[in-house]
């Protein structure tokens, strides 16, 4: 490539390079069901003698009902005792073979991930351990009490963090009584009231083969991967597939919530309910959002707020990829006395983007970043396992990876703009503003009374803090 033209033609050249190189790199997904009917997603990766396995349960805080924090407490307790093994024994069994166990609990899912060397002398003890803690966690009373206290400390940490306060208030205003409005970390009152029986009941209902999927990436032949899946989740009770709650009603008016906090910065969240991960418009919105605020310093929000005005370190926007319609969110933080200015810039940027859409060259560059960077998202077992877990949990098609770039390339400017205008409603925004350098109030106060959505009939009513 001639040197003198690269700055100008680099972008163009990039497009031509894409198709061949990246298509070759996309691995094929193998898919089957275990004897107890759990979908398995598998990508062999033979270069390193290790394996990553992710078990994802439909066991997130969406099922907390009247007990916010129940799903997270249940997940956190898995590694704290199983059968006659104490937490010490479980930790010892994993550490002495160099295995790494991760447990996370979110709104939609509970995810248990295991990374191990693939040699059966290490893998087998690790797998036995994980299988047992999924199947027969003991939820010993002393462990329940200890983890409850840890979660209460976690809530205190959230109370000192303006970002966490803003996020909780934002979800509550957006979703009201819908399960997404309930904080996954729970509330002080709720955590104190959760009983061991609640936890056992939650485990019995949601940690079942009917609610599980598994994703495996690693140095295994297909039969060994089948064995691994079976060993990890073959012993789970069958259970019943638990349906999703109905989607949340959209917020129909704008609302601004101000919460004083003694921080030096004001945290600002602006947004509304967006779409689900499986919405047909998801790709077009993702592409549009890459222009607005999803592509680092290059995006319009960063340009307007950080690069042109120096108002914030970070300013971005995102669509949460959740099972039910998740939030569309703009997030920034700025020195207290600049909060109004930064808010105005963010609002104007969103309004203009929604009205006018992206320009053609800007959309193309965003598209090139997404498609040209796709190989980066799959480089390494860890990233592959993450992508595979997403495909498994949302039930995306097996050719999802192969179709990703063609799908992105097929979206026209008009489609991106139309999808944006269908879903983003600048006159119906929830704005949460936390900070100001003023003392916090004992109860989270709002300058305007919440006029948010009412709960759909039949959905659980979470308690607020």
């Amino acid at each position: 490539m001639p040197i003198s033209t690269l700055f100008f033609s680099g972008v163009l050249a990039a497009v031509l390079l894409l198709a061949s190189a990246v298509t070759a790199a996309v691995p094929a997904i193998q898919n089957w069901r275990t004897d107890n009917n759990v979908p398995v997603y598998f990508i062999p990766a033979r270069e390193l003698p290790m394996v990553d396995a992710q078990i994802l349960f439909n066991a997130g805080s969406i099922h907390d009902g009247a007990r916010p924090g129940l799903a997270m407490l249940t997940a956190a307790l898995l590694e704290e005792g199983a059968g006659d093994w104490s937490a010490d024994i479980i930790a010892d069994r994993l550490d002495r073979v160099g295995a790494r166990l991760g447990v996370s609990s979110r709104r939609d899912s509970a995810v248990i991930s295991l990374r191990s060397l693939v040699d059966s002398r290490y893998l087998q003890p690790a797998v036995e351990t994980v299988a047992r803690l999924l199947k027969e966690p003991s939820f010993a009373p002393d462990a329940v009490e200890r983890v409850r206290q840890q979660m209460l400390t976690g809530l205190q940490e959230r109370a000192q963090s303006p970002g966490a306060i803003a996020q909780d208030a934002f979800f509550k205003a957006l979703y009201g009584g819908h399960p997404y409005g309930s904080p996954p970390e729970g509330t002080t009152a709720s955590l104190k009231g959760i009983t061991r029986a609640d936890i056992q009941g939650f485990h019995q209902r949601y940690y079942t083969s009917a609610n599980a999927v598994i994703a495996i990436v690693g140095d295994l032949e297909r039969p060994a991967a089948e064995q691994l899946a079976k060993a990890l989740i073959g012993g789970l009770a069958k259970g019943e597939a638990i349906p999703l709650p109905p989607p949340a009603p959209l917020v129909s008016t704008s609302q601004t919530i101000r919460i004083p906090h003694p921080s030096s910065q004001t945290h600002i969240l602006i947004g509304q309910i967006g779409v689900s991960r499986t919405d047909p418009d998801y790709y077009a919105l993702y592409l549009g959002n890459h222009v607005l605020g999803g592509n680092g310093l290059v995006s319009q929000l960063s340009q307007e707020i950080r690069e042109k005005r120096g108002l914030a370190y970070g300013a971005y926007s995102t669509f949460f990829p959740t099972r039910q319609a998740g939030p569309f969110l703009i997030n920034l933080q700025t020195r207290n006395d600049q909060a109004d200015t930064a808010l105005q810039v963010a609002q104007t940027t969103l309004r203009e983007f929604t009205a006018n859409g992206p320009s053609a060259p800007v959309l193309e560059e965003a598209r090139q970043n997404i498609t040209g960077g796709f190989a980066l998202d799959l480089a390494g077992n860890s990233k592959l396992a993450g992508a595979l877990g997403l495909i498994a949990f949302h039930g995306l098609p097996l050719d999802y990876l192969q179709n990703y770039i063609p799908t992105m390339n097929g979206i026209t400017l008009e489609q991106a703009k139309a999808a944006w205008q269908r879903h983003v409603r600048p006159d119906q925004l929830i704005t949460v503003i936390v900070g100001g350098g003023q003392p916090a109030q004992t109860a989270p106060a709002t300058s305007m009374p919440p006029t948010g959505p009412t709960a759909p009939s039949g959905s659980a009513q979470p308690t607020g803090s």
Binding site: I3, G10, V22, P49, R96, Q149, Q265, G310, G373, G380
Partner: protein, 458 residues
Amino acid sequence: MPNRRIVIAALWLTLAPTSFAATPIHEFTLANGLKVLVREDHRAPVVVSQIWYKVGSSYEPTGLTGISHLLEHLMFKGTPAVPGGEFSRLIAANGGDENAFTSRDYTAYFQTLEKDRLEISFRLEADRMRHLLLRPEDVAKEAQVVAEERRLRTEDQPDALTQEQFNAAAYMTSPYRHPIIGWMQDIQAITIDDLKRWYQQWYAPNNATLVVVGDVDPAKVRALADQYFGPLAPSTLNPPRPAAEIPQRGERRIVVKTPAEVPFVTLGYKAPTLKTADEEWEPYALDVLDGILDGGGSSRLSRNLVRGSQVAAAAGTGYSLTSRLEELFVLVGNPAPGRSSADLEQALRAEVARLREEPIGADELARVVAQVVAGEVYQQDSMFYQGMRMGSLETIGLGWRKLDDYVQRIQAVTPEQVRTVARKYLTDDRLTVATLEPLPLDGRRPTAPGAAVDHAIR
């Protein structure tokens, strides 16, 4: 019986590293002094390119703290050939991922790209190594951005604020007392001339290491490096001023008061690194000690303080054997509800005392070794981390091969050596303790420190 099984497991693990082939690494140096390291990793059609400069906050004099980090931000603001914003736009439009980071001992810039696009990275990095514009309006704006970053990451984070003041108390003459991001007053006062001098002084091919990891042909990388970095002129480098810490003569304590809910305590003992140790085995023994206290859920802090006595809601340790200057072996924790910072401090000190008194168990040592051996396999999954390791070792002056025998070094550590380093370094006279004393968030006190800082910087 459990002990027996553990010993056998450890034996197996010693065999693991030979079961996969070492990845070839190629090293060469350009005529202008730029060192280039290329590690082939053909698992995915991707390349990571990192350029490492031997400068960071530990090179900064008082009054100029944060200048390395501020300059790192300004490196994205343009050259005569590539105007402001173009660098990031071009990398993004090429499907790339980019960023930069500043540490105490280095400043590094990186791009991750599809493998055929390495050229754009070299072209842009070579250009900004010698031709940065540094315009007054950019400096003023970026100082504001960095001030916001400091508010976000330090001022409004009670634990981070405590940790920052802890460092300033533990070190008296070592530049490790400076925060990497800089004190707020310095961020606001650094001038464009300061920045120009800093850039001239440190941004040169003979003060840098280029690290490339990925699906590349080393010969082609070499040709590209010659083409783009080869023409750059080297600088006359002055070594950083001596920056040793004066010997500590007794325990130090500080209290940090800020609006918060959860107390926090941090303890640090002056400890040697591979660069500063009398005996080379000592940092490895400290690394094992680190694993004994905080390596996985079976480690002593989890077992004894979080689960056993339940004095801690969370506890951990920190030690880096590859720092350029003398380090701190750090223990941190948040007390559990109903327990005080004093209770937690006492429990942490009791764990340290036990390490001075009793040799660690063979089973514990085997667990640490098992985790290190497995960790060496896992870390090969990340091309970025592979680059980090080579780049940081080279930049610190240890040479990128320094940790090639890491597993063997860890395996060679004995329980007696762990006790020896505990007795020599983890002593009260080498200790600094900082405690976060939460002030009420609802402001029963009239002025919060966060607000005061905010006015001070105007």
